[in-house]
């Protein structure tokens, strides 16, 4: 039995809460915009995104930033919905990786 999901950490010790605002990177703004559009176009629900964030392995969940979790969850949901395939995503990521190399 999974009594408590790793993400479900309300009430557990978590250290200090960082209250300062910070600027978002361009890719983070893009991820946010994509999530909003996928929602308003009724392609994905926020609940699907949450499900996929909650499915992250605990080590990855802790190591990732907020929008890193989002982009992984959106990718998973797009594959689950059949909007993209695993192979398309893999090849696109390889292509971008190559483009980045000097």
């Amino acid at each position: 039995m999974i009594e408590r999901g790793h993400h479900d950490m309300g009430g557990l010790p978590a250290g200090r809460v960082e209250r300062t605002e910070h600027d978002y990177a361009q890719w983070e703004r893009r991820v946010d915009a994509m999530a909003v559009l996928l929602g308003s176009e009724k392609i994905l629900t926020v609940d699907e995104r949450r499900k996929n964030i909650e499915a992250l392995p605990p080590g990855d969940y802790d190591a990732m930033s907020y929008y890193e979790r989002w982009v992984i969850a959106l990718g998973q949901a797009l594959i689950q919905r059949g909007i993209i395939t695993t192979d398309e995503l893999g090849r696109k990521m390889e292509e971008l990786e190559r483009r980045r190399e000097p």
């Binding site: 039995m1 408590r4 479900d8 629900t45 609940d47 699907e48 499900k51």
Partner: protein, 107 residues
Amino acid sequence: MTQPQFVTEYRSSVLPRFDVGDRVKVRAAAPLGHIRTPFYIRGHTGTIERLCGSFPNPEELAQMRDGLPAQPLYRVRFRQKDVWPDYRGSEADLLEIEIFQHWLEKA
């Protein structure tokens, strides 16, 4: 029956079972899937503060289904000192959480 504070677009065949002021216990279930009821509140007893309206069930929406019929959603009020055994704040401090009807039973 108390009227919702705001009208939602979701008409539902699932009728609200609780009234404002009713004592309710949160089910101490641990199913699989996407769960909106936080772990820390399961098994605790609180009071219905309001009916928020009826909304598609997020547990179903997360699995790419329509979540219908919409489920009544309540704002439930708990005493902080009932929820946290080591709570050091005021006796009067409250915690309010929105919880779907199927997670609640009469206390």
